[in-house]
């Protein structure tokens, strides 16, 4: 089934970029500069959402025909590629996306034809869906696990390693007591944040 694999959705979006090369910086250069300037790791705007496994942006200037005979075969404008592997419903994801990081959305799509701004979530969702192309052969790295489940599992693994390191020499009785308090601590505790080390 296109676009979907298990609980994972493979979104592929191509948005035409304004081709006003007389501007300096040109729109594609401005998008590149903006993407290079945003925070990384836990400081990335994308880390505000624990819904996506992997998000990628690319600026495509043009295509090049490499075979024989050479002929001109150009895109009508540069394109912004946006792909995301996320969990959940598409409309819901895109709404949460623009709500969580509106300034990032403006910085990235602000130079694209037809971008409606970030004031109306439904209009942003409609714009993205107009630019969406079908991901026809979608291989999801993690089809059955959500991002939240992965982050919780990583956190538990880290805590478990700490527990084993502290207690691996203990006798049965103190080990069992330590394990009981470990379990209740883990039940209360939070998960890892997206983008954490």
């Amino acid at each position: 089934m296109p676009n979907v694999s298990g609980s994972s959705y493979g979104l592929t979006v191509l948005s035409p970029i304004r081709d006003e090369r007389r501007h300096a910086p040109s729109p594609p250069a401005a998008i590149r500069a903006y993407l290079n300037s945003v925070g990384t790791g836990k400081d990335s705007p994308l880390a505000r959402l624990a819904a996506h496994h992997f998000v990628r942006f690319a600026v495509i200037d043009d295509v090049f025909f490499e075979a024989y005979p050479a002929h001109a075969d150009h895109l009508r404008s540069p394109y912004l590629l946006f792909t995301s592997d996320f969990n959940g419903d598409l409309d819901d994801y895109l709404t949460r996306f623009v709500t969580a990081m509106p300034e990032f959305v403006r910085g990235v799509w602000g130079n694209c034809y037809g971008f409606p701004g970030t004031e109306s979530a439904p209009r942003f969702v409609e714009y993205i869906k107009r630019c969406q192309i079908t991901t026809s052969l979608y291989f999801a790295d993690n089809p059955t696990t959500t991002v939240e489940q992965v982050l919780k599992a990583l956190d538990l693994q880290r805590k478990m390693i700490g527990f084993i390191a502290r207690t691996q020499g203990l006798d049965a009785a103190p080990l069992q007591e330590a394990f009981r308090s470990f379990v209740s601590e883990v039940r209360r505790a939070s998960t890892l944040a997206p983008g954490a080390d």
Binding site: R158, I161, A165, Q168, G169
Partner: protein, 470 residues
Amino acid sequence: MSPQLELNDIQGNTVFGYRFPHTRYLFIRVDRVESGRRFLRSILADVTTSARWESRNGSSGKPSSTLNVAISYAGFVALGLPARSLASFPCEYQQGMLARATLNHDTGCSEPSRWDEVWRTGAVHVLLSIYGRDVAALDEKTSRIEHAIAEFEGVSLAGRQGAGKLFIDGEYTEREHFGYRDGIGNPDVDGTGVAGRPGRGKLSADGSWLPLAAGEFILGQPDEAQENPIAPVPVQLARNGTFMVFRKLHQNVASFRRYLGEQGRLYAGGRDLLAAKFVGRWWDGTPLELSPDRADPALVGDENRNNDFRYTVDPEGVRCPLSSHIRRANPRDADGFGGTIANRHRIIRRGVSYGPWTPEGKPGDDESEHGFIFVALNASIERQFEFVQQQWMNYGNDFLQGNDRDLLVGTHRPQDKMVIQGDPARRDVLKRPFLCTGLPQFVETRGGDYFFVPGMNALRHIANGTVETH
């Protein structure tokens, strides 16, 4: 079996290892092209090849000392190699090891700002390696070279490094400062004329061991991909040469002994078994895969047995942990595809310890000058040494160990650990895995670089300034 390799043209201590107890490295700096070339011409006759030493008239034919020459990229620039040849060297060799410190995880305690000055400043243009049967032999050769240097203005001795087999309990040994016997797993190379031994080459489909294609190590020969490896131009420059990785690795003996002592008390298998689990061999070199419960002097003393094992019989790491040093350095058949992946990432090691041995039972210290001069030879530094260093020593994914690094030589972060897999067949505590956490940094890089070891004919051309490109 006659050799197909031109042993007379390949420098020594490559396809066959020297067995001398003493070593000295001299670091030569060249400031004038013509002086550098004349200096090389003056020592050319002393350079040792891989030709076998023939005994005659009752003497063994083995010289009292040997001399070999390796040149860095900066050294080739200083020797006036033509621009086209210079440009044709691989990228990693041109950049040198210091520029690639981050890639090689030479960070933190191993970062270049902490290296010996001679390595920080890129002053080592020509690396001379001298091996000798005793210190007098080293001194004699050193003094001849120093006289040669003095003759030529524009050539200077930038530094030196002594090394040698560790002298323990009255004899020279193959052990290194942590106490392990080293050097068992060197690859057998095709075309040397010497029969291979099990476990050192590559696995064939019928389960027997074959020598590795010479091109994995010697340029101008076909390699395991059945290609002639990419090599600098012209052919005469590259032919019978090899690339050398030289790394001065300081060893924190006190930290290692303390850590092993503490963890050895917690580990139900005891200190010696734990030490064996770190590496994959007992102190004396007995492989865990063949003898998981005890060292076996008869086994390790037999060259036809001490390396004859594979890992697919132990996929859970019950005998030899998945993260142990030798399993990481050479996964053999554990990587699938019948071991063919490992065949493209092998290195020849010709390293030597430096500094005096700390006797057993003493705590030792971390500050003294002691460690290991790691020397690796390969046709491609990036595909062989650097791959092992980055993917297998400083990453764990291929061994199902996540981000964990090699316990001995990995660059550790606070969250790093080594998991010693348990044995599900047991009923006691050793059924469970044992976690080694809080890993100190046991090995720190203190310098080094990438060198080219030219064949003899190439060396003559380099010394005469007659390397030609069209």
